[in-house]
Symmetry: C2
Subunit: 128 residues, 2 copies
C-alpha cells in the first residue's frame, strides 16, 4: 500500500469525527479541504483501510454503511429515529466467541452487536 495524501486525509477526517460517518459524508467534508478529491477515491480508500484492518465497516439499520476508526472492542447502538450510531462498551457482553464455540461448535472469527432504540437526543425531542 503506497502512501497518498488523499488516504491520509480520509483517515484523519474519520478520526476527527466522533460520529461514524458514511463515505459520502467524508467526501462532503473533505471537498472543503481538497476540492479536487473524487468520491470514488473516498470509497476506494475506506474499503482498502477496512480490508487492512485499520478501520471498521458498520452496517446501519437502513442498510447504510458507516465507518469507524475505533478499533478497540466495542458494540454499536443505532437510533431508530435519526440512524446515528453510538458506541456501547465491550464489557456488556465479553467473550461471546468462547460461549458460542462450546454451545454450537462454530468457530467465531469476530462478531458485532447492534443495539436498537431511541437515542437520548431524539428522546428529548419527543417531549420538545
Amino acid at each position: 500500500m503506497k502512501y497518498s495524501k488523499q488516504r491520509e486525509l480520509i483517515l484523519k477526517t474519520l478520526q476527527e469525527h466522533m460520529v461514524h460517518p458514511t463515505a459520502d459524508y467524508i467526501y462532503e467534508v473533505l471537498k472543503k479541504e481538497l476540492p479536487s478529491i473524487s468520491l470514488a477515491t473516498v470509497y476506494r480508500n475506506l474499503n482498502q483501510l477496512a480490508e487492512n484492518g485499520m478501520i471498521k465497516k458498520i452496517e446501519g439499520l437502513d442498510g447504510s454503511v458507516h465507518f469507524d476508526h475505533n478499533l478497540s472492542k466495542h458494540y454499536h447502538f443505532i437510533c431508530t429515529k435519526c440512524n446515528k450510531v453510538y458506541d456501547v462498551p465491550y464489557d456488556v457482553a465479553p467473550d461471546l466467541a468462547d460461549k458460542v464455540l462450546s454451545q454450537t461448535g462454530l468457530i467465531i472469527e469476530s462478531y458485532d452487536i447492534s443495539f436498537k432504540g431511541i437515542c437520548p437526543e431524539c428522546h428529548k425531542k419527543e417531549f420538545h
Copy 2:
C-alpha cells in the same frame, strides 16, 4: 392488510426454506409456482411482513438483505466465504438489554448479534 395469494405464498416459501433467503431468491423460487408474480410484489410483501413483525430482516456481511421467518429470539452466524446465514441460540447472550441499560442508560428496544466465521461446509471444502 388485505389477504393476497402472493403474500401467502411468499410467507410459505420463506418458512419452507431453512436458509435465510434474499428477496430475489424467493422470487426465483416462486416463479416456478406462480410465473406471473412480480419481483416488486416480493419486495413489497417482505417489507410489509417485516414491518408488521411477522418476519425479520437481517443484514448480511456484504450488505445483502436476508429474511427470517423464525421470530423466536436468536442470533445469526454469517459465513465469510459463502455468505450463508445460520442461527445461533439466544442463550449464548441473554438479557443484554438490561446490562446495557444499567451500564449506559440507553434504552434498548431490540438487538441483534451477527457472528462471523467460516461455516462447517466451507471449512470442509478448504481441505477438499
